[in-house]
Subunit: 585 residues, 2 copies
Amino acid sequence: RHIGLKTITALSCLSAKATKGFIIFIQDFNSFVTRTNTCGELRSAHVGQEVTLYGWIQYQRQGLFLVLRDFQGMIQVIIPQDEAHSHVKNLLSNAPVESVVRVTGIVSPRPPGQENPKMPTGDIEVKAETAEILNSCKKLPFEIKDFIKKTEALRMQYRYLDLRSFQLQYNLRLRSRIVMKMREYLCNLHGFVDVETPTLFKRTPGGAKEFLVPSREAGKFYSLPQSPQQFKQLLMVGGLDRYFQVARCYRDEGSRPDRQPEFTQIDIEMSFVDKTGIQKLVEGLLQYSWPKERGSISTPFPSMTYEEALADYGTDKPDTRFGMKIVDIGDFLRRSDIQFVQNALSYPHGTVKAICIPQGVVSDIASSHLLHSVWQCSALGSLRLESADLLEAAGLVLRDPAAFHFLWVVDFPLFLSKEENPTELESAHHPFTAPHPTDTSLLYSDPTKVRSQHYDLVLNGNEVGGGSIRIHNAEQQRFVLEKVLKEDSEVLSHLLEALELGAPPHGGIALGLDRLVSLIVDAPSIRDVIAFPKSFRGRDLMGNAPDYITPEELKPYHIQVSWPLEEKECRVWALGASYHTSSTL
Amino acid sequence: RHIGLKTITALSCLSAKATKGFIIFIQDFNSFVTRTNTCGELRSAHVGQEVTLYGWIQYQRQGLFLVLRDFQGMIQVIIPQDEAHSHVKNLLSNAPVESVVRVTGIVSPRPPGQENPKMPTGDIEVKAETAEILNSCKKLPFEIKDFIKKTEALRMQYRYLDLRSFQLQYNLRLRSRIVMKMREYLCNLHGFVDVETPTLFKRTPGGAKEFLVPSREAGKFYSLPQSPQQFKQLLMVGGLDRYFQVARCYRDEGSRPDRQPEFTQIDIEMSFVDKTGIQKLVEGLLQYSWPKERGSISTPFPSMTYEEALADYGTDKPDTRFGMKIVDIGDFLRRSDIQFVQNALSYPHGTVKAICIPQGVVSDIASSHLLHSVWQCSALGSLRLESADLLEAAGLVLRDPAAFHFLWVVDFPLFLSKEENPTELESAHHPFTAPHPTDTSLLYSDPTKVRSQHYDLVLNGNEVGGGSIRIHNAEQQRFVLEKVLKEDSEVLSHLLEALELGAPPHGGIALGLDRLVSLIVDAPSIRDVIAFPKSFRGRDLMGNAPDYITPEELKPYHIQVSWPLEEKECRVWALGASYHTSSTL
């Protein structure tokens, strides 16, 4: 799954000639510096030119040649052997691998038969004339080429070495390019305004996953919000009309796998728009910014109701790259004499469902007493994915990694019963989601039956976006907060007041950028598309964060640590004795 | 100084036809929604067209007409008076000001003599056919047009109303446009990669102004860094070559005027670059992104050494829009018999300096015992600015608000004596700044004499950017940290190790976006170019942040509040009695 040198070169070519005919940017990678070329861009067309290159020594052999590497690729450099160049030979022969060097020389064709068709620069080499070691590399903790085999913890500790890999260079550059295209689409083509919203705000109701930031006022804390939701709605009230932001968001989820405490979303909000408008916008956005080398995507994306998704796929984020839909075979089996089937069918709403496995074998049957309970535990949805795993392990290709199946899931319920107390309701998404227009009256009579104007965007079975048309009517918002959710609306008084003072109808969406890009490059984890990710436990293994703080440093914030009892004594002692060795605690 | 309707319209036209001949974006403000036009874009050319508009009622008169406003401007709507349209008349005559309405109607020329040349849409009006009140506005806490006269606290509490003003719409849209142009220049023209770096990191040495974020590990805290300095250097070590980021930064400075706890910088770093390269890059960047309606700026920017700036202007950020340089008149006065002058001159290095005021009067003379003490207290620099204030109050225009004088200030000292203990040294900027190439040997013999490779960008007397060539040699970096600054290098061990493992020479800069944009739009405060700014005391007056948190909510973070003694009893009581009224505490 690794994308090699050729793709990197293709990327740079693509960037230079842009996708839309009338937008032509020529990227100059050599402006403001004294290099004439990047290592990876040299071709036969450069033969005869004197070039100045900067790069890292990939390897060196017998004082005869070396391979110089930069972000664009690799080039073979011939070390001069004549007396007049003994200084250059000396320098280049003795520089350790991964040292940074400047080389000036003449581009020459490789001798016939020595071309390397696997290298984009394989037809040529550079005969070194002068060279300078800009920084000598000390002994590496491991060989760069073996890096991929090392533990992830080691790779994260030496992240700056891992970043030199073609794969991470490709991922980060592609991410930057996709975001830039998204900005062009939103800002330049559709009049959106890039507005930065605060990340030091206050806790939202039920915001248990929000990081706290102590202020210098005793007892008062900022909160790092999970999204700019309130601010983007207030921007619509403020008449901004079309807002977007590549927004840093924060969520303290402890150690859930493949989550990051800080993540990025493409955050969008529009006034005077309906669901269809937002969907068209997002389809156009993804089509415009989709990287050419990943094929093309066709629009409009198919759409499915929440109810259909659960019935056919057992999940609200179906992977539609393959079939194996869940089929209700209750009626078919009603005349069978299988005892457990008859048992299941005898319950009210009891039924039997099955997945048809491509090899022609019905491998498993899951039964349920109540349809409702299947909806909640999603047993058949998991079974479907597990079956796909098994079939793929056996060699069948069900889920083409190069295929991108987008899907809208719509008509979610507006409220769900609370797990801990099913007689109480909570918002399926958030309390600002508007009810489905045809269900509005049900809001006041039977809120459990109300569908919402929420929409999820699903890609290959992953939720990559979600949004809704919002409530813009203050009374409706107050009713939802106070009567349905039984929450104290006082903490949201500023939003309620804003809705009373000329709030336009509005809606929006947020796309999870990390997840989206990781799917586009087929990376196993979102950590592969983030420059400096945190570990599972939320740690920065390179810089060692979070870290201990002296009681003195906590004073301006009027807080102190409540040490767990068993740790208290030894830690207080250790902190007192030596703050600087705290990292070894 | 307010920029009115005409400028807003000019802005939208400018956006539609871009500055470089070969880049043509047509912004479509009406995509994805059912409006046909924005209110502000209608002209005589639209006469006869049926249009659907969405906007806010600016005012309404006698049931005859109203003015509808959106982000692009205002349009006069004629309320129909015939029986067939009585419903429309009824709706529009009774809707309160600032209600949100949809109006469909025909664009018509205004009757001869009733054109309004002050309105860009003043030649026409829309004869309403249908209308809908989308959201009725409750009684406003004040009239929008009087808003500017209200206290800033009230305006910040109702920020979403203030955002409807032409001035704030202009500021935020211009900011968005400038940043987009910067991105085009960096990303599309010069191959920079937009990389997001973490904001949850750990405290840097001496980072007393860094906000803390408690983690779920007892005693361990993240820190919100003041800049991505370490990360951008590590990206260079990682071979990214050219990095930029519109980076959110955090600084806890208590209540310093016109500072924000979170702010934004255009953060840039390049490998294999020198000071001249960075300066050319920034000059090109500002020229490319400079808004046309603010004139043009010429490059290269003039440059001045730190020593010259102090000698001629008494500050390291001189406002070069006007003269009144500081002149040394010590030699001239040596033969005078003024006693205090003779006193001053009798000290070693004693001298007398003066500012020549344009009106021909030497208004004041400041003397000093030691040149060095003048350099530190900058008395004459302040005197020069105060004199300019006085002269401008008297009617003389010294500092043209439409003039933009950029200036590089270079050759800063690398180290300064600590104020609290002058025998110890601290970095003038930060410990990663490289020494001036000609002063490198002094680093080891007399560090106080070493000039740095730091450069500041000054605009009209304001520091709008700063950067440097960085140390890329691990031994030199360790020497600076351990021997000169006497700091524990252990906390920076990851950076030192990175420098040993193939770090390229590199340098960069950060531009203060908030300050830069506020100067471009001539706003009195950076709060005028931030959508949701905090107050002087770091408070969000709209949402009431920071706010109290229950002890229960602090538990997962193993912290508790250390209440100041005098507050403790009443607060603990109040919190216990009623958490939700905490905002009134």
